[in-house]
Every structure is written in C-alpha cells, then in structure tokens.
Subunit: 348 residues, 4 copies
C-alpha cells in the first residue's frame, strides 16, 4: 500500500517541497472559495467562519472580491501581488476546485481542502458535516496531499510566434479541449509532440488531459482512466473520422501542440477545464505542457480516524486510496451484471 | 408501443405461423428442461408436476433421458422422430434455454416458458414462484412470444466441400465463436459475406452473433446491443491486431463464412452457444446463416396482470418491452455516475 | 451472392415497387443536382447537357432554381406540385446526395445516379468520366438500386403536442444529431423507444442514424457499421458521461424520441444530415421513425461491363457488393499492421 | 524535441547509470540471439561474424547453447554465473527481443541492438543491411538507448504465501496475461492495487502491460497506446462481462495482484510475453511490479547519418522519435479515410 503514496506527502513536507516557506503549518491565512451562494453554502460558510473565530482567531480568512462576499472575510485578489494563502477551502462541486485552481496561475498553489455540499465528486473528498475534523488535521500538519498535475498553455499564431492578444497564461487541472462547437463541420487539427508531427486529426476535436481529467471529458470521449499520482498527458480524440485513432498517453515531460490546419473548414473553440476561452483560427495553435505548479489536494484518507471502521473493509487510515473508492463508488467502475437482487421485476 | 411488437404474436397465431398445426392450444404435451438438479430445481419440478396432475391431467409431461429423470415424466428423445412437444418449460439459468433450443435442431421449436430459480438472466422472464399464472396464460393461448433468431451452421473442408465428419447441423441462439483457445498464437481468419471476401482477421477470434447473443459474448468483445426483434447478424472481432476493426451488422439474409487461413499459425476452436464443439484447421471453414426456425420465447409482459401496478411506471400489461427492462436492470445500461446517495463514504 | 441483393431491384421493378407509374423507363425527365460550381462541375454539366441533347433529346433536363443555373436546363422547384422527375443525377461529394434527397420531403424519391468529381465517397458510386455508360444503363432499365432508408422527424413541445413553429417535415439519409454545440455544458436527454423510457443520457449529444449514416457521424462516435440493405435504426451517444453507454440497434419499425430533459442545464442543437436546423429547449422533443420513402441509389456494380476484369478478383457484374469495397477502400476497414513494405524507414 | 529524450541516454552513460562498470564501451563481448535459423538469418550471422573478425577481432562473440549454434561463437548460458555480455544483437522478429530479454532474469540487461530480417516490428529499429553502421555507432558509444520497462512477477498460493513450485522469477517486456484459454467458461479474477481490492473481473482474462506492451496484446484488447519512455502499468481487461470496465493506467510504483477468485468456475492460464507459463487455480495469485532492470534498447534515430535527409521531413538525426514513426507506419495510426487515390475502383 505504500507505493501509490509516493507522490503524497504530509502537508508540512509538501509545503516545503513545492515552495519553501510559503505554506505555514499551522496556516495563518485561509481562502474560502464557493461558486454559488445557495442556502447550504451560505450556512456552511457561516459555520466555518464561526468555527474559525472560536478555534483559530488569529487566522485571516479571505474570500474573492464579489458582491456576495460573506461578512467577516477579507478581500482576496489573484495575481502576482496577491496576499499569501496557506490553505484553500472550497465549498461546492468539482467545478469549484477547478475554479479555485484557476486563480493561482502564477507560482505554487496552496493546499486545497474540498468540501462537498452533499453532491459527491471526484475532487471532493470531504462532506461538509465533517469540516471540523478535516480542518484540525490540516492545521496539525497531519494531512497528506496528492499533487494533482496541471497543464500550462501557450498560444501561437500562424507564424509560430506567441500570440500577443492571448497573453494570459492558463493553468488547467482537467483538460484543454479544442472543439468544433457550433460549427456543423469537422475540423482538421495537426498534432505535434515535442515539435514532431504526430498525426492530422479530422474530428469534432481533441482533448489533452491530465490524469485528474482522465475521469472527466476524456473518459466520455473514450480515454483510459489514469491514476492521478502518475505524471502523464493523455491525448484523446473526440469523434474522429478514422477507425484507427486511439487515446495516447505521454510522459509529462512531453510538449503537445494542437494546430488548427490551414485546410480546416472550421475554426476550433477552446475550452479550459470546461470554460470556453477563445477560438483558434486555421494556422493558430496551442501548446500544452505539464505545469511546474501542481495542485496539492488534501486526501480523504489522511483525515480518517484510526478507529473508523469503514464497513469492516479493514483498511486503516491513510492506507486507502481515495481513487480506488471513487472509481468504484462514483463511476461504478466495472459494475457487474446483476443476476440477483432485482427479483421483484421478474414477478408477474 | 406497437412497433416493437411486430415480431411478436400470441401463442396461438405464432404456432400457426411458424409451423401449421404443430403447436396446439391448449398444449397437449410439455417438455421440462433442467441442467442441474439442485434442491430448488428438484422442488420446482415437484411442484410443477403436482400442479399439472391437478390442473391439466391430460397433458403428457416429458423429460430428457437422463439418470436423474423425475418420476412422473415420460422420456423424450430429440431427433426427427421425436414425440411432438407443444410447450417447453425450462428451469435454471440462461444456459438452460440455450440447451433446450439445441435439442431442436430439425424443424420448428415449440414455445419456451423459462423460469429462473432466483438468478435473473436475459432469457429468463419468469420467477419460479409465478409458475401457475404463467402456465395458465400459456395454456389459454394468451401469451405472446418473441421469435428469437437462430443461426444455422455448416462446415467446409479445404476444398470448399461440406465436411463429412461434421454431419450434425448446429442451431445456435447466441453465437458461433472461433477462438485461439489454448494456443498462444493469434490466428488468421478470412471472412466472407455472401461469398465475397470481406477481410482477413488476425485476432484471438471472431464471433457471429444473433441479436439475442448481442448481450452475451459479443457485448464483452465490444459489440453493439441489438434488439432481439430485429433480424440481423452481428460480426464482432475478439482482440483483433488492428486499430480499425469494428463490429459489423448484416441483414439476416446474409451468409457469413469464417475460414481459417492457410497462413494461420494456429488452429481455431469452435464454440457454439458456449459449448466447445470442434477445432477448425487451416483451410477449413464454417458458414453461418439465419435459421428457418427461430425460438418462440414467451414474454414476461404478456403474463402480467391487468391490475399489476409495476412501480407506478404506468405501463399496462403487454405494453412493455422486456428488453428495455433487462438492459437497464441486468446490464445496468448507461448507469449514470453517482453524485448523491453515497455520502456515507465521504464521511470521515 | 444473392442474399445481400434482396433489397435491390432493377430500376424498372424498383420504380414500380415504390411508387407505381412514377418512374418511367426510359426516364423522360432528369434533375441535375450540384452544390458548388467549380470548374470541374461546370465542365461536367456541359458535357452532360451536350450528351443528353445528342442522345436523348426528348428528355427534359431540370436544375434547382439558383442564380447559377446552367443554360439549357429548366427550373425545378421542390414541393407537392413539383414537376415529376424520373432520374436524379448528382455531381459532387456525399453532401450533394444528402442535399438531393432533402429536396424530396414528400412522397417517393426518384432513382439517384451519383457522380464523384474525383473525390470518392460512400455515396458516390460513379466517376464522372464514366457518365455515358452509367446513363445508358439507367436508361435501359438495367441498373439496380439500393433503397437507402431515410428517417422521418417530427417535433413535440413541452406538453407533448406537435410543435407549430416547426411545421416542415424533415427526411434524413444519414442521421439526426442532438448536440450541445457551443454550450460548454453537458445536456441531459431522455430517450424513449416506442413511448417507453429507455434511458437518461448525460452527454455531448445523441445520434439516431440510418444504416447509411452508420459510416458517417455515428461511426466517429463509436457506433457499429451497419449494412445499408438492413432496415434498422442506430442510437449512438456522443461522449456520454457514463462508462456503460453502448450503441443500440433497433428494428426500423421502432419510433425513437429524444427529449431534452427539464433538468438539462443546456439546450440542444439539432443537426439533420449535418445541416444545423434548430435548437430544442428543455422539455422539447424530436421523434424519429423510418420514412416510407427511401432513396433508390443506383449501384456501381450494376453498371459494370460483363467483361470487366476488375483486378482479377473474379466477381462478375452485379455480383459484388459496393459496400464491401467501400468499407475496405474508403474506411480502410481492419487495415492490418504493416510489417513489410516500409523497409525504407528502417534504413539508416 | 528534448523532452521525450529524458529517459534516453548515450550508451556510455546508460551503462554507467543502470549497472556501473558492467557495460564497457567499446564492448568486449557480444551475444547473438536468433529464434529461427532460416536462410536469411544464417546468412546474416555469417556476415556479422565475418565483420566482427575483420573489424573487432578482440570481441568475444557468444550464442545460446543450441544444436544449431553457429561456428565461431562461444556458448553462453544464462544465470547468475553467466559470462558478462556488453552488447546483445538480435536477428529476427519482435519475439526475438522478447526472448533475449527473458534470458536476463537476474540483474541488468546489456544494451540490445535489434535487426529485422525484412519484416518490420515495433521493437526492431534496424534493417539487417545496415548492420555495419549500427554496430559502429554502438561501439563508439554514440548510440542512445530507450530503457524499456519490464515487469517482475511473483506467485502466491491460496494462503497468500509465495508459491514453492514456481520459484523461477519472471521478467516480461510486453505483458502478463491471465486467460481462460481452452475453458469455455469465463473466469473470475480479483484485482488488487497495492494490496487494496480494486475490482472483481468476470471476463476472458486480464492483461497487465508495460508501455512497450501497450502496442501488443493490450492494444488488441482495447487499451491505450502509452509512450515507452513513460514508466507506467496498464491494466486491460479481455472481453469483460461488464459494460463499464475500462483500461487503467497506474504509476510504475504500483504493485498489481491478480488473484483467481475462489468463486471462479475456471482456472486461468498465464502467458508471459506470449509464452504460456502455468495455470493458476482458484485462490492462487500473481503479483506484478516494475522490475529494477529495464531493457536498454538502442534507438534507430541515434544511428542516422547527419546528412541523412529522410524524405525532407526535416528532422535531424537523434531528433526524431522512433515511436512516432512506428505508430504511424506500423500501426497505421489514425489513418484518414481515403477520398482520393482510389479512383480506379470507381471506374466501371
Ligand atoms: N461530454 C462530457 O463529458 C463533457 C465533460 N465536460 C467536463 O466538465 C468539466 C467542467 O466541470 P464543471 O465546471 O463542474 O462543469 P459541469 O457542471 O458541466 O460538470 C461536468 C461534470 O464533470 C464532473 N467532473 C469535473 N471534473 C471531474 C474530474 N476530474 N473527474 C471526474 N468528474 C469530473 C463534474 O462533477 C460534473 O458532473 C470539464 O473540465 C470537462 O472535463 C465538459 C464538457 C463535456
Ligand atoms: N467473455 C465472455 O463474455 C464470454 C461469454 N460467453 C457466453 O456464455 C454463453 C453460454 O452461457 P452459459 O452456458 O450460461 O455459460 P456460463 O454459465 O459461462 O454463463 C455465461 C454468462 O452469460 C450469460 N448469458 C448467456 N446468454 C446470454 C444472453 N443472450 N444475453 C445476456 N447474457 C447471457 C449467462 O447468464 C451467464 O451470466 C455463450 O453463448 C457466450 O455468449 C462465453 C465465453 C466467454
Ligand atoms: N465528427 C464527425 O464525424 C462528424 C460527422 N458529420 C457528418 O457529416 C455529414 C454531412 O456531410 P457533408 O455535408 O458532406 O459535410 P462535410 O463536408 O463536413 O463532410 C463530412 C464527411 O462525411 C462524409 N460522409 C457523409 N455521409 C457519409 C456516409 N453516409 N458514409 C460515409 N461518409 C459520409 C463525407 O464524405 C465527408 O468526408 C453528416 O450527415 C454527418 O454524418 C458531421 C459532423 C461531425
Ligand atoms: N490478440 C492479440 O493481439 C494477441 C497478442 N499477443 C502478443 O504477442 C506477443 C508475443 O509476440 P511473438 O512471440 O512475436 O508472438 P507472435 O509471433 O504470435 O506475434 C504477435 C505479434 O505481436 C507483435 N508484437 C510483439 N510485441 C509487440 C510490441 N511490443 N508492440 C507491437 N507489436 C508487438 C509481433 O510483431 C507480432 O506481429 C505477446 O507478448 C502478446 O503481446 C499474444 C496473443 C494474442
């Protein structure tokens, strides 16, 4: 059980490893991220703020600068001069973590503690009702993190030069997808690996995914499921007009360029972690590489109580792989055909 | 809801349609088929025999000639001179129906009423506890049947002549599979459609399946799910050494020949509905065509009570398609990713 | 070789069969269809018109009412009162036949003789250079046709009533596709078969395809290849968020309804044979059924010369299945891995 | 172009890296491996021996101890006390390299220079006609190698103890496959990752593959193509009776156990790189881990002449990735549908 844990580290070491001195244990600053402001989210933020005031009154609690920013939080603005954050807490669905990560485009990302509001997700290890226990483990430096790889994207114009008008760098956790979007026509995309031409894809589009994203869009398009502790890039075509296109898995040292062919009848819309970004015209390209800055996500297993019996499955805390549970419970991986159980249906 | 029922008919008409005069309503003879003689099966046969004596004392009840043939049944032997059977009752799993059908190699097959012993299956519409109601509906001529296509197989030697030593014709309900079996080597099979060369397959093997069999081995090998009321042949490769081999669906009027190539490094073992039959050597071939004699399987829906509320899903008797239920309940077709429900697992 | 030909008939009989008296042999009227007016197309039309004037001066030659209508053709307008057409000649790609068929929304479609301008396609049996021979065979009533199934579509609003604003009936040859289009969000579509709920699809979209369309978009989305002489509907999901969604094949008697779920976060754009039609909002539905009016497409093999040796493959005229050739030549079906031939690449 | 090369090293450094001092440059000993003794192989060995005598008379040339061992070679026997080998030369197909690697079960493997006899293969970078140039580059220490991962296998009995009777350790380059073989019945295999239960597989079998093996059996079973410079394990099911089984990719630090379930109706035959090894009975297991000893395979690109123009594709020597060429040329990866070229077929 030790092998899979190699990319995992306790919060303390992880902080040290990825950006010396930046993540303090115990954290001195905390950033709350939520996308929606539904009643459960509002209640959860209230409880969380109350909890922090009671137990950790010295910690500064931040929130994005939005009209609905909760009272008792300070404004946090992303960018090179952002206030340092030691711990991110997200409240919502998988999309909330994607959003949180997207705020840290430059430099290292603080550890992320993600709470679901009842809806489970792949990136949501904790139920909001358990927030106390989870926060304490994180504050004590006992939490282990999984460093989820991110992709770094740059854009090239027809001449191969970096595009002026798309200065902003992107960092994605799931995937970059080039897609025909509303165009009825297939597009033609040239794929290069480390500068070498790999193939010409005539398809609805192409996905370059992280292992984390391998259970998102890439999976729907037929890609393999890749363990998030592996460093790799997954290239998955979307509805290719070819019988012989297969998903490819590359080492994370590879650089992948997707270039809309000059011959392409259609432009291609770019989505980054599900956010429509801009449109690439024939001749334009995006280059994707592993980012230097992964997202340290706090594991579910690291928080479990030693005496937590967990259905008698027998694994002790920290011994289980969240991912194994998730592909079984969330994706219903390899669900066997039922032959018992549904007898009622056979009764007439 | 009428469309899918076109290949279905009431027992009475069906009998008339497929073999005039042969299937009498009410049935005068009944053949019990079971593969194993477990306690539940023994009990079920007892109850069935008792029921028949009480309610239908004139009906002759047959059983295969086996050492464990139940008392109170007459011996039935397959073949051209077999005693006529008006109704088959099977007790067991899907394999029991496959076996029952295999006994009727020549001429029409009597309607089949299939009871599960608790384990559901694709070919098992009825639970044994409901046998009384099911039998009465069949005896009243009110049951509707689905004519499940079968495949007829002949064998050719290197010269293309019919093989002497494999006289016995085969009729299969699920599929014919040519497979490398214990050989470590891939085999090479030439596939012909209506005498025309279609492709050379280098693979673990090739499946030719009926729509019924499309949820059996063919499905595991990546084939599509074909509604059993469609008349069609499905060709599915097993682990082909090619990126561009896809399952093919042919009209049932097609004749498909699988010929082990002279270049094949390995022989190919033949399985018919999961029964190993014999081995084809390089140059030898099997030709598969739709059989004239499908298997009339009595539907679950035709037996339902008019007042049977069925979970409030609202469909009346005879209105539902067993198949839609089965792919959802048994195969868990398109099971959506869970996001609710399993919250317990996220608790720490 | 006879089996696959069952749905094929000589032009004469076919005409009689599908619409008595309508298609005359020899044809008295001919409709030329082209999408683009490139130089090769213009030249081809010139040659064709010249040929007709010389050889069949009594035949009326029509063209769609477009600014670029060639001299020497009469205007033809689709609709219930359209001038009767005995033969359609298309010049262009696969899309040109799709367009030609779309002009005959009401009633039977005249036989279609399709010429490629050099680019091969699945629906393009003839090379333009052979037009003389092809036309003569058609005029002599010796051509055989493949009746390609079409789909008939109707639309329902939230209340299940037919939609007022989408009066125009659609007839498609390839497929109907519901797709998220430019929306970044997955849509949710409820699929019904013959009125019975089959499944809820969370995906990029859903395709309902004819066998003809099984080599078009459905193939790219992972669907099986279905022989066009089979009458069937293919349901193929596009990037479904489920591990267990598989393509389904239904008898052509089935009626399939795709309904955008009220829960769907996104609308769904409708494409008919690749033409964007309109958008379905949550609650709205499309119902697809086999059309009464297939498209009679003239076969390549029916035109071949008796003495045409065809690479020594040995099949006489009319004996070969165009489709077998096409999946091998155009799709490169089951292309075997190369081990010879490319030796140059291994030279250093 | 540098990124993919990270796992590649010049022969000199590679030797140092994987086993200090063991691989001398220039090599002092050479092992010739061939499986068959066909005329081209005999001739090639003759030329090679002659070349060595002329150019490198001090190098000891070894061969396996077989009756057909060529004159002028010394006997080499595998095992802990084997004579040290500095360079392996294989002559034959992909299977010859697999065999060569299997001889080095203990400790590091010397660099492998693989020559095809005309038949290309994934593991065959060089054509025999180029042997002089290839050998010189290797002798000069200029060749770069790709360290191809291997799998190390151990066996456990019902009690989880190491099996006595299967002492011999196995090292495989492609894959371990558990398969039902000649049994007509599906087997049931429990899959564990790092000791944690992952899933129960009811299928024809399970493959655990290296990235190298991802283009072999795993590919045929539907697995992704994984670049050989990535360290990873691929788990691919063979014909699983489940709609929701997908290939999985694990970090090479994972340990995967395949255990034939006590409930399995069938035993499971084990194949290692296509060699049938033994049969696992219900309760018995195999555990697979990345080996410490990869196989250093000499690259094609490292041998190319600086002035070698290579079709004007423009990549200089050492800049190209053999793998990109191979998946395009050998697998015909993403072969686009043909629309030109085959016009002859459309002529009648
Ligand atoms: N056909 C498809 O499967 C499509 C999938 N997407 C995915 O949606 C993502 C954006 O997510 P949201 O902003 O929440 O949009 P959303 O609200 O439309 O949700 C997409 C779904 O994907 C799930 N998801 C997100 N990341 C995941 C991951 N790493 N592993 C497993 N499931 C994951 C979410 O829980 C949600 O169920 C994109 O990054 C893309 O991967 C986007 C478009 C189409
Ligand atoms: N890898 C695979 O999926 C393999 C599947 N089979 C299938 O097993 C069949 C023989 O069945 P048994 O004698 O019961 O052997 P078995 O006891 O080994 O059962 C095979 C499984 O297939 C199921 N099955 C059988 N016919 C089916 C159908 N038409 N639709 C859905 N499920 C069906 C059975 O319920 C059982 O779960 C063969 O006809 C073949 O289709 C055989 C070998 C390998
Ligand atoms: N990802 C994909 O594969 C997509 C495919 N399409 C297909 O394009 C069709 C429209 O075709 P065009 O107007 O020519 O648009 P187009 O010019 O964009 O061409 C689509 C391609 O599909 C081919 N094609 C069309 N019908 C075919 C058939 N029945 N079998 C084999 N290949 C076929 C055409 O030859 C062309 O190569 C749609 O009906 C749809 O099937 C449309 C969108 C996406
Ligand atoms: N259905 C299938 O695809 C099967 C494949 N195999 C494969 O055959 C291998 C043994 O090879 P041989 O001893 O030559 O047996 P073989 O002579 O039966 O050849 C199998 C084929 O696989 C090719 N091959 C081997 N390793 C490869 C690789 N790493 N990438 C791409 N192609 C490769 C060979 O060139 C040959 O064409 C096994 O390791 C297994 O991967 C074995 C059984 C079934």
């Amino acid at each position: 059980s030790t092998a899979l844990k190699k990319t995992q580290a306790t919060l303390a070491t992880s902080g040290v490893a990825s950006a010396p001195g930046q993540y303090r244990v115990p954290p001195k600053s905390l950033l709350i991220i939520n996308k929606h402001r539904t009643k459960p989210v509002v209640d959860a933020i209230d409880s969380l703020l109350h909890y922090m005031r009671e137990r950790h009154p010295d910690v500064r609690v931040y929130h994005e600068d939005r009209p609905d920013r909760p009272d008792g939080t300070e404004i946090w603005r992303p960018g090179p001069n952002a206030d340092p954050i030691d711990l991110i807490v997200t409240l919502g669905g998988d999309g909330t973590i994607l959003h949180a990560a997207s705020l840290f485009k430059v430099g290292a990302v603080p550890p992320v503690l993600s709470f679901s509001m009842g809806t489970l997700g792949f990136l949501l290890p904790f139920h909001i009702d358990d927030f106390g226990k989870a926060i304490e483990t994180a504050f004590e430096g006992k939490a282990t993190v999984l460093h989820r790889m991110r992709l770094n994207c740059t854009f090239q114009n027809k001449d191969g030069d970096d595009m002026e008008d798309v200065r902003q760098e992107w960092q994605v956790m799931n995937e970059v997808a080039l897609h025909r979007g509303a165009s009825p026509h297939l597009n033609t995309i040239d794929v290069f690996v480390d500068g070498q031409h790999l193939t010409e894809a005539v398809s609805d589009g192409i996905i370059v995914s992280t292992p984390t994203g391998s259970t998102a869009y890439s999976l729907s398009a037929g890609g393999p499921i890749v363990h998030p502790s592996l460093s790799a890039l997954v290239l998955t075509p979307i509805c290719p007009r070819s019988l012989s296109f297969r998903p490819l898995v590359f080492p994370s040292s590879s650089s992948i360029t997707l270039r809309v062919s000059e011959r392409s009848r259609a432009e291609a819309g770019l989505s980054m972690d599900g956010q429509a970004s801009h449109v690439l015209r024939p001749g334009e390209a995006i280059t994707v590489q592993a980012s230097l800055y992964p997202v340290p996500c706090i594991n579910r297993s690291s928080i479990a109580e030693p005496d937590d019996s967990r259905d008698g499955e027998g694994a002790g805390p920290g011994k289980e792989d969240d991912w194994v549970r998730d592909i079984n419970n969330l994706l219903q991986y390899n669900a066997t055909f039922r032959s018992k159980a549904l007898l009622r249906h056979s009764r007439t």
